[in-house]
């Protein structure tokens, strides 16, 4: 083992900041990261063992114990549960003969839960040895387990490949992209790869930034920071190098639009990255790809290779002296919080994905402490169209404060889930009509960290100034138990995904969850609802990053918009009400002395 592990470390030049890659490669080799390997890494990189484990134990997909020759990670996000995930989980357990969170005795099959894998439009879905299996049925589960027992290759068990480029020989996945249902006016506009970059190199770097600034393009990841301004700040920061990072770590449950962009239009993304790199004068670009999308990696590498041959990446791009830019893919390893830009940078440096204190901002001191622009997949892809058609054309679409269009991942209780391109300013009602959602109780805008709105709010619109979303749009039907099925799932998600650095985020989430359960158990009082709301406010005030500040949103926004549901949990028809039920407490002892509880 020693030689192999050392070779892997050498491949990354004994560089501590590449610890993620080292761990990923070792896990791929041994199906886990054994203690012996940790010792070798620690020795070679001059770290303590606990320091290596510090990074390792942060990421969901790293494991120190073998997790099965066939490792099933079944999505347990809210929409997955809506679509019958529990039934599928039971089928897996019965067929495999083991329970979730464990491996069969012979080491053949491991069953594990995982947070959203970006397939909410085709749940229940699972990753098996990194290969996505979607729209799972009980019979498919039986077939899969039989296949495992017969030693079949995972890739050979997918059956029919999906639509669009999912059937490309470089992908060959059963995923369906439900390809961009509405041909939108910006992202989906047809064009020829390279055209935008050709226009870009004819103007100065400053002029490119000026154009993006004038377009009013705002970051599509959720925060909505003006992209041009970000580039300008970065350009003005001093450093030895400048980096461009594309955030392809869409982990917000209910979001899957980047999966579709990466599958159907990666050239547009890479071209957008090249344009951004030209503007900020970055030589090195990094695409941080979430672990769940590893099935797209070879394909993306190949697309980049073609673009290098076409002189759209690499040295002297389009023959321009001094315009050198290339991209490498950095894989993640399962951590929602890494979608936060500074956590993503920490992760790229081989550390735990803990968001940084600001200032300094990434544009001042980001990756390797150098000026760094981190933009979302959708933002960078949109830049291409701005360069082609001009900032005024772009600005004319959408609303005054939210220029352009937004890709929405629509999932949940509707007939046509999938990815849609909408102009900013589109009303929730219009989206619901288009996706054929009837009998709607609520819509979760922006995933767990967003807001849960009631039908009275459906005439509000999707925009930064009204209902802001990074892309998720989850329809919740009338027959769902909003608090039990939705809110608890989301809070559990935040408990699991908190980086655990900030004290309130780490602990208050657990406390809020307990209080919610108390209400759900019928032991709550009106005061509990008020306290739940007040304590949730602490999260907003105290935490460092977007995850922590919004982790109480599932509770806060449902108390605001669905308060009667909470009040219905409080028993008011009893004379005296308490979270302590005396009758229940003495029930057992009464049984033995043959008495009936009578404590009044």
């Amino acid at each position: 083992m020693k030689d192999k592990v050392q070779d892997i470390i050498k491949k990354y030049h004994d560089d501590k900041t590449r610890l993620m890659d080292i761990l990923i490669d070792i896990q791929a080799e041994y199906n886990c990261i054994p203690g012996e390997a940790i010792e070798i890494i620690a020795g070679q990189l001059n770290m303590s063992k606990v320091d290596v484990e510090q990074t390792l134990s942060f990421y969901h997909f790293f494991t120190t114990e073998p997790n099965g020759k066939y490792t099933v990670y079944l999505n347990d996000s809210m929409v997955a549960e809506m679509m019958g995930r529990d039934e599928i989980a039971r089928a897996f357990e019965e067929e495999a003969g083991t329970t979730f969170g464990s491996v069969t005795e012979d080491g053949l099959i491991g069953l594990f839960n995982t947070s959203d894998i970006g397939m909410n439009d085709q749940e229940p879905a699972a990753l098996i040895n990194g290969v996505p299996f979607t729209s799972l049925t009980i019979s498919k589960v039986k077939e899969l387990i039989a296949g495992f027992k017969a030693g079949k290759e995972v890739k050979d068990m997918i059956g029919q490949t999906g639509d669009g480029n999912n059937s490309d020989p470089r992908i060959m996945s059963m995923v369906n992209n439900n390809c961009l249902k509405r041909i939108g006016s910006i992202m989906c506009l047809e064009y020829e790869t390279g055209w935008a970059l050709r226009r870009t190199v004819h103007i100065t770097r400053e002029a490119v930034i000026e154009m993006v600034k004038r377009s009013n393009l705002r970051g599509r990841g959720g925060a909505g920071f003006p992209a041009g301004l970000k580039w300008e700040f970065c350009r003005k920061s001093e450093g030895d190098a400048t980096y461009l990072v594309c955030n392809a770590d869409e982990g917000e449950p209910g979001t899957f639009k980047e999966r579709v962009v990466l599958t159907e239009m990666p050239e547009q993304l890479f071209e957008g990255m090249a344009i951004a790199a030209y503007a900020i004068n970055a030589k090195e670009g990094i695409l941080y790809l979430r672990a769940e999308y590893i099935y797209l990696r070879d394909y993306l590498e190949d697309v980049m290779e073609t673009m290098r041959k076409d002189n759209l990446l690499g040295k002297h791009i389009l023959g321009v002296e001094g315009f050198d830019f290339d991209i490498r893919i950095q894989m993640g390893a399962g951590a929602y919080v890494c979608g936060e830009e500074s956590a993503l940078i920490e992760s790229m440096e081989g550390k735990r994905g803990e968001p940084r204190n600001r200032p300094p901002f990434p544009v001042q001191a980001g990756y390797m402490n150098q000026p760094t622009v981190v933009n979302n997949v959708e933002t960078l892809s949109t830049v291409v169209k701005i360069m082609l058609n001009g900032p005024d054309w772009f600005k004319a679409i959408g609303t005054p404060e939210s220029a352009g269009t937004k890709l929405l991942s629509v999932a949940g209780d509707c007939k046509k889930p999938g990815v849609y391109e909408f102009e900013f300013g589109t009303k929730v009602n219009e989206v619901l009509d288009l996706v054929e959602a009837t009998s709607v109780q609520a819509v979760q805008i922006g995933g767990p960290s967003g807001v849960c709105i009631n039908p009275e709010m459906f005439d509000r619109n999707i925009s930064f100034e009204d209902l802001s979303t990074g892309g998720a749009f989850i329809v919740i039907g009338k027959d769902r138990d909003l608090l039990q099925d939705v809110v608890t799932n989301y809070i559990d998600f935040f408990i699991e995904e908190s980086c655990s650095s900030c004290a309130p985020c780490r602990s208050l989430t657990v406390i809020l969850r307990g209080k919610l359960q108390k209400l759900l158990n019928g032991h709550g009082t009106m005061n509990d609802i008020d306290e739940l709301y007040r304590w949730g406010q602490f999260m907003k005030q105290a935490n460092r990053c977007g995850l922590g500040q919004t982790a109480a949103n599932p509770i806060l926004t449902t108390i605001e918009n669905f308060r009667p549901l909470y009040e219905a949990l409080v028993k008011t028809d009893e004379d005296y009400m308490s979270e302590f039920d005396m009758s229940k407490a003495v029930e057992e002892s009464c049984k033995y002395v043959d008495r009936v509880p009578n404590v009044h």
């Binding site: 063992k49 606990v50 510090q54 980086c499 655990s500 004290a503 602490f538 005030q541």
Partner: protein
């Protein structure tokens, strides 16, 4: 003297210098901003969140935010007081803090802040964690249930240029600090004592040390925490 800048804390003007954090600038001027994770001269963690102040109306941690000319800071404010007290309470319920019997009692910063914020009974239910103890190394007794995850030890306790303590896992009941017992076994008695001293609570104890100062002579027996700054 060109580096001198003026800042405003709770309506009063103070002089300080560029490059300082709000926390240090306040301290120099006799203004106490409570904090737990901060260690002077060590890379900021900003993880306990107790030093939250309002900067131009926004909540920021004083330990991580550099001062700027004309910055307006609110430190004494009912909302902040409430928030800080709530965080202290969160820390009390998230661990097993049996103050009367703890070796650090009287010298513990968490306990001292509890007194300073007039905490009686925490409003939150106790979690009673079971994260275990580690007594495998020669001089150190590590009780994870008394840990508040301030990361002071993670950032400061080194042996042979390697970290003796590190975070492990994440989320809910899983997150904890792990001690490298092999490395910790090489710590000298003095280094082990320094590790105990850097810990604001009773999570890192030096073996065979026990109760050192008699009651009445402990660090926070005579004056509440922060007085040393305010009475300067």
């Amino acid at each position: 003297m060109n580096d001198k800048i003026k800042i405003v804390i709770d309506g009063k003007e103070y002089w300080t210098e560029h490059g300082k954090t709000i926390l240090d600038a306040a301290k120099d001027n006799g203004v106490f901003i409570p904090s737990l994770c901060h260690v002077e001269g060590v890379k900021t963690a900003g993880s306990c969140r107790i030093c939250n102040v309002k900067v131009n109306g926004r909540n920021m941690t004083a330990c991580s935010t550099p001062v700027a000319e004309g910055m307006t800071i609110v430190n004494n404010h009912p909302e902040l007081e409430e928030l800080r007290k709530a965080i202290v309470e969160v820390m009390f319920v998230a661990g097993n803090h049996f103050c009367p019997a703890c070796e650090k009692s009287g010298n513990c910063e968490l306990q001292a802040l509890g007194y300073r914020f007039l905490m009686l009974v925490p409003r939150f239910p106790y979690e009673f964690p079971d994260k275990g103890v580690n007594a495998e190394s020669k001089y150190i007794y590590h009780d994870r249930n008394r840990c508040i995850l301030c990361k002071r030890c993670v950032r400061t306790v080194m042996k042979d240029d390697k970290h003796v303590f590190a975070l492990n896992s994440r989320g809910g009941e899983h997150i904890h600090i792990k001690i490298d017992t092999e490395l910790a076994s090489h710590l000298t008695e003095e280094e082990a004592q320094a590790a105990m001293d850097i810990c604001p609570v009773g999570a890192i104890l030096k073996k065979e040390r026990g109760y050192y100062n008699p009651i009445g002579e402990r660090k926070f027996d005579k004056q509440p925490i922060g007085s040393e700054i305010e009475n300067k």
